[in-house]
């Protein structure tokens, strides 16, 4: 059951970009299906039911919990996204560099979550760079510049805990820095 000390970070990106792996790498418990979290639903659903969305969590001090949600579904059936992001403190966008049009994916997701990103913040992780090196990180930076965004973007391997930690820390620091400093 959620309480007032619960927060959530949303992981999104195309299928296969590494959302499940990224969540697993930092979650206190192995990711589970949110289907299984719905209390009265649990008893009625088969254990092999397809996972609707990834879920992980981190227990923080003072009983607080950071929930980690991976967005469900494919791009053409994203009707759960606007519901899922409610109350989120930031977005982790994973882009798979091996896909046909990674810049198209980048643009699609930034646009799909535009309002949420404006209200909170986003960090971008590029996966699959070891398999397909182009576009390069420099080209992604240029693309973000073209889109008028100065958001953190990193080359990552979702299996590496360190990469996910860097992403989350950058997200947190950029959220803090969004608040203007006081001019004296």
């Amino acid at each position: 059951m959620a309480n007032l000390n619960d927060y959530k970070i949303i992981f999104t990106g195309p299928v296969g970009a590494g959302k499940t792996t990224a969540i697993a790498s930092i979650s206190d418990k192995p990711p589970v299906s949110t289907n299984k979290l719905a209390s009265d639903f649990t008893s009625r659903i088969k254990s092999e039911t397809t996972v609707a969305m990834d879920y992980g969590m981190m227990n923080l001090d003072d009983g607080a919990v950071l929930h980690l949600y991976g967005t469900p579904g494919q791009e053409r059936f994203n009707f759960m996204w606007d519901i899922l992001i409610t109350g989120g403190i930031g977005l982790v966008l994973l882009i798979d560099n091996r896909r046909k049009n990674p810049f198209g994916d980048l643009s699609f997701y930034l646009n799909a979550f535009k309002k949420f990103i404006e209200e909170t913040g986003v960090v971008i992780g590029i996966t699959g760079m070891d398999v397909k090196a182009e576009p390069t990180h420099r080209e992604y930076r240029n693309e973000l510049k073209r889109l008028g965004l100065e958001v953190p973007i990193f080359t990552i391997d979702a299996r590496h805990k360190r990469d996910i930690v860097v992403m989350l820390e950058a997200l947190l620091f950029s959220l803090v820095s969004k608040e203007p400093l006081t001019k004296s």
């Binding site: 639903f41 659903i45 001090d61 759960m80 100065e150 080359t155 805990k161 860097v166």
Partner: protein
């Protein structure tokens, strides 16, 4: 055929509208399942096609279209068809892709209302209260009140304005020796004159290396640096650099002034490729940005390049690729501040209440990647908050990441 729905048909809910999804993948079907359970749990239920009264069809799927065609005509006409373009089926509701929750909710509500309109008195007795459930709205808009977790999470302050004083997990990776090699060890009190604050990269390996990478990028050719203390080759395109010496040894050459000039020599690709092949140890081939960043740190050792003045406002143009770079203490928070604000190195150190050498190190490394822009507004000053001691969410998360990192 896969079906999660057989087990969830509750015989007691005989007035609940039974809906099936056709032509959807397993994952999308399970998302529908979650969606219906969460927002229409009292009014409708996902079931197998054989038990369904109404249908949501992926009309771009040949399987979905085929299944829809087999339905009795009355059921065909009341279906919700999800498709890229309007399939022009009269009587059906068309929802364009990408399917949005704000359009799906009213469409399902219309199905429910149609069902209620055609239901008999018996079913009315079973469900006397027709008011919308708390999870949905009569207007068909997305629910304002979110159930459980969402309700408690909505519109909550997370304390962004409070300062972060927790050490980053990644920053703690570094040994004291590494930190000293990258950031020096000078206390702020030692930065009293230009000699201690600034360095001129023209007298070091850094400047010719940056120039060589630029040439390799622009001319798409290989470049060799001769006259340096070790063999250094930049591969065509400037994305990779071969350095003969090991990091541990090489870092000490970076701080030494060059006794004589270093020459750039364009080299043919085959020679470099063979060199690359010969370099069995991959550690000698570095991504260009990663090694330039490191060399800038080792060269600066907590000093500023002479182009950047200690009280001059600067800004960072982009986030360096920190997952592939040496991260020095406070590097992420220094960067986040310089991305969002135009501030002098002095102001950054004061605002974050951290030693100057860490700020100078980041400024120097970012400058080497041409990430720094110079601002005219150099009279800015920031007030230093007093909230460092107050624990907040971000400190809390950082502590956990540190444990897990």
């Amino acid at each position: 055929m896969w079906s999660p729905f057989k087990l969830i048909c509750d015989p007691l809910k005989d007035t609940v509208l039974k809906i099936a999804v056709l032509g959807m993948s397993e994952n999308t079907s399970s998302v529908f399942l979650y969606f219906m359970e969460k927002y229409f749990s009292e009014e409708c239920q996902l079931v197998d096609p054989d038990d369904a009264q109404e249908f949501i069809v992926n009309f771009d799927s040949s399987r979905g279209k085929k299944q829809w065609k087999k339905l009795p005509q009355a059921k065909q006409l009341s279906a919700i068809l999800v498709a890229d373009t309007d399939p022009q089926k009269s009587g059906c509701q068309w929802l364009p892709k990408p399917l949005e929750g704000s359009k799906l909710v009213p469409a399902i509500r219309e199905l429910i209302q149609n069902q209620e309109g055609s239901s008999d008195k018996k079913s009315e007795q079973h469900r006397p209260n027709k008011e919308p459930t708390p999870n949905t709205t009569p207007s068909g808009k997305l629910p304002v009140e979110m159930p459980q977790a969402e309700a408690s999470l909505k519109k909550r302050s997370v304390g962004y304005s409070q300062k972060i004083n927790e050490q980053s997990a990644i920053e703690l990776d570094l040994s004291a020796g590494d930190i000293e090699d990258c950031c020096g060890k000078e206390d702020d009190a030692k930065y009293t004159d230009a000699k201690h604050i600034y360095y001129d990269d023209e007298n070091t390996l850094l400047a010719p290396l940056k120039k060589a990478v630029q040439v390799a990028r622009q001319e798409k050719c290989g470049v060799e640096l001769s006259g340096a203390s070790t063999s250094i080759c930049i591969f065509p395109g400037g994305e990779e650099i071969y350095i003969e010496l090991d990091d541990r040894v090489f870092r000490h050459f970076c701080i030494m002034p060059l006794s004589k000039g270093v020459n750039l020599q364009r080299t043919d690709v085959s020679k470099l490729q063979s060199q690359k092949m010969l370099a069995n140890n991959k550690e000698h081939i570095h991504p260009a940005e990663s090694i330039i960043w490191k060399i800038a740190l080792w060269t600066s050792r907590g000093r500023l390049p002479k182009d950047i003045k200690i009280d001059q406002a600067i800004k960072m143009q982009f986030w360096p690729d920190f997952t592939r770079l040496q991260i020095t203490p406070y590097a992420l928070r220094i960067t986040s501040l310089w991305i969002s604000q135009s501030l002098s190195p002095l102001q950054v150190a004061r605002f974050l209440e951290i030693p100057l050498r860490y700020v100078f190190a980041v400024a120097s490394a970012a400058h080497s990647l041409e990430a720094i822009s110079f601002e005219n507004d150099d009279n800015r000053s920031v007030s230093i908050g007093s909230g460092r001691s107050s624990p907040n969410l971000f400190n809390n998360i950082l502590r956990r990441l540190r444990v897990r990192g």
